[in-house]
């Protein structure tokens, strides 16, 4: 994986010094909270309901064991012994003191990490496929391109005061595991008819209160123009994105109101101009970055069979292991969704365990997924039994990836100052319900996503089943949505009808699941059945 050189290290060190000075000036009263707010946000620091929350960037979700150990230590030293992995492949701490934040950032910098631009109206941490470098179906490893974009977008002087936040995702296979088209810019690395590698740009997607699937803006941007084209996309947005209403300020609204063709035309114009400015790093820089993402030294002649005599182990393999491009290996997903647990949370001890296991079983690498789990990308099939035993000891062997218990949930009203309703207790009750009734496994792939407010951090629009928490005359109420997908068959979920109270929404999810179980045909997932039979049968069951 990528390793900082002296320049990269100096940049994060300087950033820590800068933020330390900004914090000092704030604490000395030399700037107002309004002036300080965007500065702390661009260092990942939010003021939440009970305390400051700090979001640490995990670029394209990739971590080594040293970094994971450091994240565990930070949970211990500055928080209450746990961290929360997020839908943008980052990690958040919920109980941070402002005075200690500069020291925390300094600790991160020691392991080549930072919290730069994890919040605020700027280009955020770049996300990617959690199986990058491992997936059999990828064209190339997308992470070198994401790293190139990370450096370009970090401290970009023109784009630190955008109309609104800006999220970029880079993938390199037709199977979308990163919700690419629900980003402000989604980039798919593709090969053109001439056999050259380049980038397809999808611009103007997003969730939030106005969900949109990003349209294709340009089919092919040559690799040696990737930064220049990105800069053109951003400049048109910075100049024309709406600033009169923060709810209409995302680029999706601009692209929608302007029309994708007109947006694309203006980008082309800006692009032609910027090509003359020589702002593109040479291809040698991309090649330099690529050297850090070469395959580890995979062994050959490995067994492709694990001992499946233990039923629980076999179930876990079927649900949590993903085929690898190299014979004898799989990518293992560690579920952070134990029955009744808080989705995405890991304790200090669990983070240390995962770090150790990444080192021992996966070439010192792990990944954070947008579904709030952790991946060990390169595990020998012959060592899976051993690994499973160690995960089980640490409470990390839940076998439910992409099943109904593998719930994406935002922090909700338990932590978040924007939330209208709690997400965590609903997630806990649903996972408990489906563990008790035994239907979880029978249901197969069923992605359930819960947001505690319309901002959609829990991706409810993209859930096969989505739940949106709203405030109904002072009480928490939950709307049910069906039919969303964040994958390559991207679709937006639709609301079933009137909402439910907390107990009611758990029943409603079970009723919807039962409709599927009664109506599914061979091989159909919940989503497929919904798409075939439509909303009506579900409505009948829910509101009869």
């Amino acid at each position: 994986m990528y390793k900082y050189d002296n320049y990269d290290q100096e940049m994060v060190d300087t950033r820590v010094a800068e933020f330390r000075d900004q914090t000092r000036r704030r604490l000395e009263g030399k700037m107002t909270e309004d002036q300080f707010k965007p500065l702390r946000l661009q260092n990942g620091l939010y003021l939440q309901l009970h305390a400051y929350m700090l979001r640490v960037a995990v670029p394209y979700g990739t971590l080594n064991s040293t970094q994971m150990h450091a994240l565990a230590d930070i949970a211990d030293k500055y928080d209450r012994g746990y961290g929360h992995f997020t839908t943008r492949q980052n990690i958040q701490y919920n109980w941070i003191k402002l005075e200690e934040a500069p020291d925390l950032l300094a600790d991160l910098a020691k392991v080549e990490m930072h919290a730069i631009q994890t919040s605020g109206n700027c280009i955020r941490n770049i996300s990617s496929d959690q199986y990058a470098g491992a997936a059999a179906d990828e064209l190339v490893d997308p992470r070198p391109y994401a790293e190139l974009l990370r450096q370009w977008s970090s401290f970009h002087p023109e784009f630190l005061h955008l109309p609104r936040k800006f999220k970029i995702c880079v993938i390199a296979s037709d199977t979308d595991r990163a919700a690419m088209r629900l980003h402000d810019i989604g980039i798919q690395i593709v090969k053109n008819d001439a056999g050259e590698i380049g980038c397809a740009f999808y611009v103007g997607g997003g969730m939030g209160r106005t969900p949109m699937i990003a349209p294709l803006i340009r089919e092919f941007v040559p690799l040696d123009q990737l930064i220049t084209y990105s800069e053109a996309c951003l400049r048109v947005y910075n100049r024309y994105g709406r600033r009169d209403n923060k709810y209409k300020a995302r680029i999706k609204i601009l692209v929608h109101e302007m029309g994708k063709d007109e947006y694309a035309r203006q980008v082309e114009e800006e692009f032609a101009h910027l090509l003359e400015q020589g702002i593109e790093p040479p291809l040698a820089e991309l090649e330099r970055i690529k050297t850090y993402f070469q395959d580890p030294e995979f062994k050959t002649g490995l067994t492709d069979k694990a001992d499946r005599s233990d039923e629980n182990f076999a179930r876990w393999v079927d649900s949590n292991c993903m085929p690898h491009k190299t014979p004898g290996y799989v990518a293992v997903t560690i579920s952070l969704k134990p029955v009744g647990g808080i989705p995405g949370d890991a304790s200090t001890e669990q983070m240390h365990v995962m770090a150790d296991l990444a080192k021992e079983y996966s070439f010192d690498e792990c990944r954070v997924t947008h579904a709030q789990n952790i991946v060990l990308p390169h595990v020998e099939i012959g060592r899976l039994n051993e690994l499973y035993g160690k995960l089980a000891e640490a409470g990390l062997a839940t076998a439910n990836i992409d099943h109904i218990g593998d719930i994406i949930a935002c922090p909700g009203l338990d932590y978040c100052s924007l939330a209208n309703a709690r997400s965590i207790p609903v997630a806990q009750k649903i996972s408990q319900r489906f563990a008790e009734n035994g239907k979880g496994e029978t249901l197969g792939q069923l992605k359930l996503k819960i947001s505690g407010c319309i901002n959609a951090c829990g991706h409810h629009h993209a859930g096969h089943i989505g739940i949106l928490g709203v405030d109904k005359k002072g009480t928490e109420n939950y709307q049910l949505l069906l039919g969303g997908s964040e994958a390559e068959d991207t679709s937006l979920a639709k609301i079933t009808g009137p909402g439910f109270d907390e107990a009611g929404i758990v029943d409603a999810v079970e009723k919807a699941a039962d409709v599927y179980l009664a109506q599914r045909e061979d091989g159909e997932r919940f989503l497929d059945t919904y798409r075939r039979i439509g909303m009506d049968p579900f409505k009948e069951a829910l509101y009869a």
């Binding site: 940049m11 010094a17 002036q35 109206n121 370009w152 401290f155 002087p157 784009f159 400049r235 330099r288």
Partner: protein, 150 residues
């Protein structure tokens, strides 16, 4: 439309130019485009900077106004001017704060007339904080990728 809305030389707190401080009253972009003799113009966030490009030869001062520091359109305005070859003064006016100084420099601003005077020591630190940069702009600084590859 009120003209003569520009800042005066004594309001300029920081300047990175050798030439004499420009002391023309700045006019709005609309007024500028209507007049043939104006030499100073003030860009507001909603103005289209590119309308000025045919007239760069007669402009001695561009003021870019930041009515609120969160509105970042002025950064693009300055870069568009520099990329078009404008070499005159670009003065940041309005809500200009310590932590915007370095990035404004990167975008081509070379004079600063903040509505509220800034602490000199803090400002000096801010201007000199970053030894290196990741992006190429028109400020002449070699980005890190250029240093890596010579």
């Amino acid at each position: 439309m009120p003209d003569n809305l520009g800042t005066s030389p004594n309001e300029v707190q920081f300047r990175f130019r050798e030439d004499e401080v420009v002391d023309h009253p700045a006019v709005t972009v609309d007024s500028f485009l209507d007049q043939s003799n104006a030499a100073a113009v003030r860009i507001e966030p909603g103005d289209d900077t590119r309308e000025l490009l045919p007239h760069l030869g007669r402009i001695k001062l561009v003021e870019v106004n930041f009515p609120g520091f969160m509105d970042g359109r002025g950064y693009s305005a300055a870069r568009v001017l520099r990329e078009a070859g404008y070499e005159g003064e670009i003065r940041a006016v309005g809500e200009v704060l310590i932590d915007q100084l370095a990035i404004m420099r990167r975008c081509g601003f070379d004079a600063f007339a903040p509505a509220d005077m800034l602490d000199e020591t803090d400002a000096e630190r801010a201007f000199g904080l970053w030894d290196n940069v990741y992006q190429k702009t028109t400020d002449g600084r070699a980005p890190i990728w250029q240093k890596r590859h010579g």
